[in-house]
């Protein structure tokens, strides 16, 4: 995650206020930013808000980027902060909204479709129920495929803390999803 070559030129052009450079930077990072936002929030509309917020912050503060950290790390920090900010703003509404959406989804689909997507829904729901700190570590690991050191740089903590958070998240997910795993003794638990 080092700023070099054409990316460095693009960032410099953005710092000079060149409109085309902003568009190029957006095209480079839009999928990463949106993926993290969607996996963190579990909702497309919320993910759009988070992604929009992240790019606005990116464009307004790119003059402050000095290249001390990698540019990609800097972008990841922005999107992680936007996710956590959004979570803090809507903390009280999310559980109710989630339940309401789950009810709507279940009542609108046929039983076969609900069964087919059961595992998918349960895994996502289990991830959604992790605390924000654990969830963002899991998302950076599995959505972006970052190494422990890279996650640590984004989150501003040590690789040991990242390992601990991922370990706690794995244990919580195993506990919540153990009934979905086929045991040798027979069928699903």
């Amino acid at each position: 995650m080092v700023l070099e070559g054409s990316e460095k030129e693009i960032v410099l052009a953005c710092q000079r206020g060149e409109r085309d450079a902003f568009r190029t930077l957006f095209e480079t990072y839009k999928d990463k930013v949106y993926s993290i936002a969607l996996r963190f929030s579990g909702d497309r509309a919320v993910a759009m808000d988070i992604a929009q917020d992240t790019f606005l912050k990116l464009f307004s503060s790119i003059r402050d980027f000095r290249g001390d950290a990698g540019f990609e790390t800097w972008v990841y920090r922005l999107v992680v902060n936007s996710c956590l900010d959004h979570r803090r703003r809507t903390r009280r509404l999310i559980p109710l909204a989630d339940e309401f959406l789950l009810t709507l989804r279940a009542s609108g689909d046929s039983l076969a479709e609900v069964l087919r997507s059961e595992v998918s829904d349960r895994v996502r729901s289990a991830v959604d129920r992790l605390s924000p700190d654990l969830r963002i570590a899991i998302i950076l690991r599995y959505t972006e495929g970052l190494a422990y050191e890279e996650i640590a740089e984004v989150l501003g903590c040590s690789p040991g803390t990242v390992a601990s958070r991922l370990n706690r998240a794995h244990k919580a997910l195993e506990r919540r999803l153990s009934h979905l795993v086929h045991h040798p003794g027979g069928g699903h638990a």
Binding site: F26, A51, Q52, L56, V123, H170, V181
Partner: protein, 104 residues
């Protein structure tokens, strides 16, 4: 369990493509004034209303001031004379005609 979980997480949390209208949203949010229709017209309309209100207020103030000013000297004298004629006619009817016809 851990292998299954890691595979499932990698599958369920896989990256996705951003929607096509994200750039449009970001652009609009970054520059709301450029996308607001007739933004300048509103300002001019409000300015015109304020100017009209100030003009109306000034006219009203000037008109009110004119009403409150003392009567011109010749009108005041005429008023005194009329009052004197009425008073004389009431108190000394025989001399009342002199008030108006003393030059005859």
């Amino acid at each position: 369990m851990r292998d299954w979980l890691e595979l499932e997480l990698a599958h369920q949390l896989a990256p996705v493509r951003a929607p096509g209208d994200l750039w449009e949203r970001v652009e609009k949010a970054a520059d709301p004034a450029a996308h607001k229709p007739h933004g300048g017209a509103h300002v001019w309309r409000i300015a015109a209303i304020i100017v009209l209100m100030i003009a109306a207020g000034t006219l009203w103030y000037v008109a009110r001031g004119a009403e409150l000013q003392p009567l011109p000297r010749h009108l005041a004298a005429e008023q005194v004379r009329s009052r004197w004629i009425r008073q004389t006619a009431a108190e000394r009817p025989s001399q009342a005609c002199l008030a108006c016809h003393n030059n005859l």
